[in-house]
């Protein structure tokens, strides 16, 4: 459905996205995870034709975005991270306008999908934050695209609206819509996505199903909270384990037994304030791949 080939973007001397290859299969939900500044939004923006790539190509449904942008863009719906709606207009008026950009629209269907049919005529400024988020999604859907790109669709919403959005995406997926979903909530990616791509420093560092990523990158480990000379403690631990650090929290995967790791740390004078065994999850895989937790990132 979406093919990115050698896609990259430079801003002056800074490379935001290197040369990214990615295939999104028709009908799947692909999660795009990465720390802030990793290149997620730039990648999405290039894929949607909002930002012109420095190199590489984008094909949507087999149509080259650069050669035939109108056909390619017509197949795609974008839900930006910001509330890209007009708050002085009603939901219907917003949907009519954004639908008109595509020359086709099904306003009632879009309102039904996000559960706003009964509030369709009210000015959006009277909506709750969650309702605005839902309308934001509806505006990306109103022309019934084949591919829906959702950039952080649940930021700042209440749990009820989040669940609603969650269910909406599942329902769209069930209808065969292809979805690209970026999120700061690992549990959303774990529960929603067929596959997950982790981006860091403008490149995809891992791609696969949640199960594959966890098995490949998130070996079980021990989480330690340390005090004292952390750099020395980490260096000492690295002789006996694979170590990742996030502030005062250090995650170790011992090469053998745990005891030599702890002894090496304590030998540096550092103290262990907390010690905890951690399950392998997408979060730990992300930490292992990027060195950061997603929410802190």
């Amino acid at each position: 459905m979406l093919a990115l080939r050698g896609l990259g973007k430079d801003y002056g001397d800074r490379t935001a996205v290197q040369a990214l290859d990615l295939d999104v299969v028709r009908g799947e939900i692909l999660g795009l995870l990465g720390p802030n500044g990793a290149g997620k939004t730039t990648t999405i923006s290039m894929a949607c034709g909002v930002v012109t790539p420095t190199r590489g190509t984008v094909a949507i449904g087999g149509v080259d975005l650069a050669k035939d942008p109108f056909t390619a863009k017509a197949r795609l719906g974008l839900v930006p991270q910001d509330l890209a709606i007009f708050e002085d207009l009603s939901a219907t008026e917003n949907l009519n306008y954004f639908g008109a950009l595509y020359g086709t629209r099904d306003v009632d269907w879009a309102l039904d999908v996000v559960g706003l049919r009964d509030r369709a005529k009210e000015p959006v400024k009277r909506f709750s934050g969650g309702m605005k988020r839902r309308l934001n999604i509806a505006c990306g859907l109103v022309h019934k695209p084949d591919l829906l790109v959702l950039d952080e669709p649940t930021v700042g919403v209440d749990p009820q609206s989040r669940n609603h959005i969650f269910e909406t995406v599942k329902a769209l997926h069930a209808r065969g819509m292809t979805v690209i979903y970026t999120s700061h909530y690992m549990e959303e990616a774990e529960a929603l996505c067929d596959r997950v791509a982790i981006i860091d420093h403008g490149a995809i560092v891992a791609l696969g199903t949640v199960g594959e990523l966890v098995a490949r990158h998130a070996g079980k480990g021990i989480e330690l909270e340390l005090a004292g000379d952390l750099d020395a403690a980490v260096r000492a631990a690295e002789a006996h384990a694979t170590v990742t650090r996030d502030g005062a929290v250090v995650r170790v995967e011992p090469k053998g037994h745990l005891a030599p790791v702890l002894a090496a740390i304590e030998a540096t004078g550092a103290t262990i304030a907390r010690i905890e065994s951690r399950e392998a999850t997408l979060e730990t895989a992300f930490l292992a791949l990027t060195g950061r937790t997603l929410r802190d990132a």
Binding site: S45, C48, G49, V50, V51, T52, P69, F70, T71, A72, K73, A74, L76, L78, P80, Q81, D82, L83, A84, I85, F86, D88, L89, E93, N96, Y97, F98, A100, L101, Y102, G103, P123, C139, G140
Partner: protein, 348 residues
């Protein structure tokens, strides 16, 4: 797409009281205030009182615009002028010259015509009437049309404020771009199957429509409510107004390209527009400005617009062709603003 954009922007405008106020109602208030302040031509308001005392049997006919207010003594005349009860005073002693009492600190633009008119009235009263043929005939030079016989103050204040507030459309245009960028609706527009030039034009065209509605409203109100007349070609007035709108929208594109965020535009654009309006003669007629300021006025489009409006509203028989210099200058400004704006405009 452009039709949808026009509908959307008109809907947004109708729900934005602040913008409605600044584009439609504020200029009306200014027209009324300025129209009441500037009085000339036959619409001079009530005749101005001139205090008079005479020790001689002499009648001084004051002429139009003045009314004699007899006083019991010469000092009473002087006190009346000093107290501001009358605009000027005439003291006619038994012998010697007539004393014209007037506040010499008053602005020359105000004092000069009064002083001249009263001096002429005194000279006419005191000089023996000598029948002679007309020695002076006042005429416009060849190629310059005669003005209307009954010019009201609104012939000047309506276009002055229409131009001043018409150009405030530029700020609205710039704010729209900044707002669309902030909220992400601009991103949606770029993601849609719409060429970029069309996205840009689709954002500007609604304001051309709104600007035309604004000027139609202001000139319509001027004509029907304030008695403003159109001495020249109505088509000329329409084309000139369209050129003003194009120029204002192009200036808005330039503001959008260099103006930054809504907050930055909101703090700088009004200052720039007010200074342009002031230099261009929207708030104070350029004819009354010093020569240097009159010439300086031509660096802003407002002055060209006002020159054109003055011709078409005041000079009889002004045709569309007569307005070519003003319309041409406005279109040249519009082209320059648009070229600079496009050069600096960032789609992404």
């Amino acid at each position: 797409m452009i039709g949808a954009a026009i509908r959307k922007d008109v809907q947004l405008l109708l729900r934005d009281r602040g913008r409605l106020l600044s584009l439609f109602f504020l200029p009306v208030i200014f027209m009324i205030v300025f129209g009441s302040m500037f009085k000339f031509g036959p619409d001079q308001g009530a005749p101005r009182p001139v205090a008079m005392w005479s020790a001689r049997d002499l009648t001084i006919p004051l002429g139009e615009g003045f009314t004699a207010q007899p006083m019991p003594s010469a000092d009473a005349v002087r006190h009346a002028v000093a107290a501001g009860d009358t605009i000027a005073g005439l003291v006619v002693p038994a012998t010697g010259p007539v004393e014209l009492v007037i506040d010499l600190a008053g602005p020359i633009q105000v004092r000069g015509p009064i002083q001249g008119a009263l001096t002429a009235a005194v000279m006419h009263a005191m000089a023996p009437p000598i029948p002679m043929p007309a020695m002076i005939e006042v005429k416009s030079p060849p190629g310059v049309a005669r003005p209307l016989d009954d010019i009201s103050s609104f012939q000047v204040t309506v276009p002055g404020n229409a131009v001043l507030f018409g150009f405030f459309l530029a700020m609205t245009v710039a704010m729209t771009f900044a707002s669309e960028r902030r909220t992400g609706t601009w991103k949606r527009l770029l993601a849609a199957p719409v060429p970029r030039w069309k996205a840009l034009v689709g954002t500007l065209v609604p304001y051309i429509v709104i600007g035309c509605v604004q000027l139609t409203f202001l000139f319509g109100l001027g004509a029907f409510a304030f008695g403003m007349k159109v001495a020249g070609s109505l088509l000329g007035l329409v084309v000139l107004s369209f050129a003003v709108v194009l120029c204002a929208v192009a200036l808005g594109l330039l503001f959008a390209s260099v103006g930054g965020t809504e907050k930055q535009i909101g703090s700088t654009a009004p200052v720039v527009l007010l200074v342009m309006g002031l230099v261009g003669g929207c708030m104070f007629p350029r004819l009354l400005m010093p020569d240097f300021m009159m010439k300086l006025g031509h660096v802003v489009p407002h002055s060209w617009a006002l020159d054109g409006y003055y011709d078409v509203l005041v000079r009889q028989g002004t045709s569309l062709a007569d307005l070519a210099p003003s319309i041409g200058a406005l279109l040249a400004f519009a082209g320059a603003f648009a070229a600079l704006g496009l050069w600096r405009f960032r789609f992404e």
